[in-house]
Amino acid sequence: MIDAAVIRDRFRDRGFIVDEAFATALQLALALEKPLLIEGPAGVGKTESAKVLSDVLDTRLIRLQCYEGLDSLSALYEWNYPRQMLHARLTEADGSTLEQREAQIFSEKFLLKRPLLEAITQEQRPVLLVDEVDRADEAFEAFLLEVLGEWQVTIPELGTIRAQHRPAVILTSNRTRELSDALRRRCLFLWLPYPSLEREIEILHARVPGLSGRLAQQIAQLMQLLRGLPLQKAPGVAESLDWALALMSLHRDHLDAATVEQTIGCVLKVHEDRAVLDAHRQQMMPIVADSPGRVELGGYGLDTDFGIGSVTTPRR
């Protein structure tokens, strides 16, 4: 059994900083063989944690990306019908009986395994990532519940396939809709919030080697500030890392107002959010190194909102 402290250390070795609560949740998920449902704002490392876990366990990561309209066949298995047809045509004259031909056609050779079936037929216990499960339909959620509960799949032509090793399952959700209580009860639950200032600095140093201490401090402080503003899309850790990498590539060792203005696109991804930052510029000024008066953040003002009624903006 892998200990929480060991998980922390191994994650840290791979540049992923986890706290005690996260490490304990992962430890329990592995020990109790229960799926771990991770919820939290976008960009805090939910998906990445599954990737790192597979690396830590030195096993395969199988990913099921959920989306609206995902059906059970796309997640489980499909028969390779064109290949079956071809085989049926080619063996028409080989003298085999109908039963023999049917047995050949409906064998594993012609089975296309999708992520869920793939996960339960692995020789070594894999990590199954069911990403953004909140985007899938409720019908698919019910189907998922059945698979996660039984760990077996019945294929009418082949019979029941049971999991040789229960995969370590991580489900992620951005809370675009509420998941059912039934699914929640079958999972361990972890809320992954934005990191604290100290932890974000730690993450920046771990993921962006060579980043100056001053720059890491400034980025983390600005991120804390931005997450406190009424933004439509608050920046996550992914944006912090992107920003740090962008600043590194620009050979900056600290942030000033002009640099923030040039590179803020790495962080704020919604047009209106720039106006919000502009309105709170005074709070930003103590963080950046020098503040040469007013900095125009560019872009369109809120008054020229041409998008309403004519342009569809994607859902958050």
């Binding site: 609560a21 329990l28 109790l32 064109p82 509420e178 009860r185």
Partner: protein, 400 residues
């Protein structure tokens, strides 16, 4: 061991405490997993125990937020740093260890069935969303100043929800049918359709020795609309709010996808109560606090709605209906930002203003002026025929 004798006793009592005091929904499977989790970690380490129990017993964000406080309340009820041995042991019935012991010893399947049995909601019962709404710290503080404020007055009246008659239901049905949201993205098998289904056709041909005699098709179903009805319960809407609630009940009686809220200077979710009324059970709403009978803070309340419910309720299938006279006392910029965001994230915004029926009324109040560019349909509904008229103004085949 504090507060009870053994680990199973403490664990079961803690679960009972979480259910009773913090409205956790913990079933016997979770209780068993919690016991297994304590086998995995060092039980003498308080932090490890807390970190182990949290992911097992908390299953929502709300639960996870309340868990640490509940843990301290239960296991460390004394002043900070006080040793547990010095604390008085609670009376056995507070944690219910006797019941808890039964729970641990009882048949798992039986208990699980008990828990999976849906609870019959009562008028006083609060869903988690509603509890969150009522315990939210953003509600105006009940200070002495607040009590005497003409704006922040706490509701004294309790609005009534009554089942609606057939005329209301028929009008609501027309509305629901007229709101077309187009087709879902998912292609589903159908006897006839727009897209040829090669996979299923080939699959079916295996039964006819490879000859594709039966053609299979795919089609996209129509999307079901969802309605979010937000009723202004402020004093200025005193006469019209009851009609708006009737309309809400009427819509809920013909559609399952309805969420209802009231607001005055605070927001409150009343979906469960509306559903009960739609099912034929008349009831009087519970304590409405700042969501009824006070001043009007439309902007802050809509912003609050966006913050707490926006992600879950808004989408391209959602039609938002706001019933308000638009006489706002709040910051109009807040209202503008909120209504624009609601419009951006929903299919349509219908604003029902009872003052529109008043002769000579012009929507020149600052709240209405700032909100109008983001309103899809601006109308008044004072009775069932008016609702039917509103529905008929919507062109079939497109969103309103």
């Amino acid at each position: 061991m504090y507060p009870f004798g053994s680990i199973p006793e403490n664990l079961a009592a803690f679960c009972a405490f979480l259910r009773r005091e913090h409205r956790f929904t913990i079933d016997v499977r979770q209780l068993r997993d919690a016991a297994r989790a304590l086998d995995v970690v060092t039980v003498t380490d308080e932090r490890a125990v807390r970190d182990a129990l949290r992911p097992v017993l908390a299953s929502t964000f709300r639960d996870a937020s309340a868990f640490d406080t509940a843990f301290v309340q239960f296991f460390f009820p004394g002043p900070a740093g006080a040793p547990q041995v010095a604390l008085p042991r609670p009376h056995r019935d507070v944690g219910g260890p006797t019941d808890a012991e039964k729970e641990l010893k009882s048949e798992p399947g039986e208990r699980a069935r008990d828990h999976e049995r849906p609870e019959i909601p009562t008028p006083g019962a609060l869903s988690s969303l509603e509890t969150a709404a009522q315990t939210d710290t953003s509600a105006p503080p009940a200070t002495a100043l607040g009590r005497y404020s003409p704006i922040d007055a706490e509701a004294q009246s309790r609005p009534e929800l009554t089942p609606v008659d057939r005329a209301w239901r028929d009008a609501a049905r027309v509305l629901v049918r007229r709101v077309h949201l187009g087709l879902a993205r998912r292609w589903r098998p159908a006897p006839s359709g727009q897209r040829f289904d090669l996979r299923r056709t080939l699959r079916a041909s295996l039964h006819t020795v490879g000859e594709p005699l039966v053609v299979r098709w795919l089609r996209r179903r129509k999307q079901s609309p969802r309605f979010v009805v937000i009723v202004d319960g402020s004093r200025s809407m005193a006469d019209a709010a009851a009609t708006a609630l009737d309309m809400t009940v009427a819509i809920a009686s013909v559609s399952m996808h309805v969420e209802a809220f009231t607001f005055s200077t605070g927001l409150q979710r009343i979906t469960e109560q509306v559903r009960l009324a739609a099912a034929g059970q008349p009831l009087r709403l519970g304590r409405m606090r700042y969501a009824w009978g006070g001043g009007t803070a439309i902007g802050p309340c809509l912003r609050e709605f966006l913050r707490r419910f926006g992600d879950r309720l808004l989408g391209r299938e959602t039609t938002v209906i706001i019933a308000s006279d638009g006489l706002d006392v709040g910051d109009v910029i807040v209202l503008r930002d909120a209504i624009r965001e609601i419009r951006r994230r929903s299919a349509a915004v219908i604003w029902l203003n009872p003052l529109l029926d008043t002769a000579g009324y012009e929507p020149t109040a600052s709240g209405m002026t700032i909100a109008r560019p983001y309103i899809t349909t601006f109308a008044s509904v004072c009775d069932p025929p008016a609702l039917a008229r509103l529905a008929r103004t919507m062109r079939p085949g497109v969103s309103p």
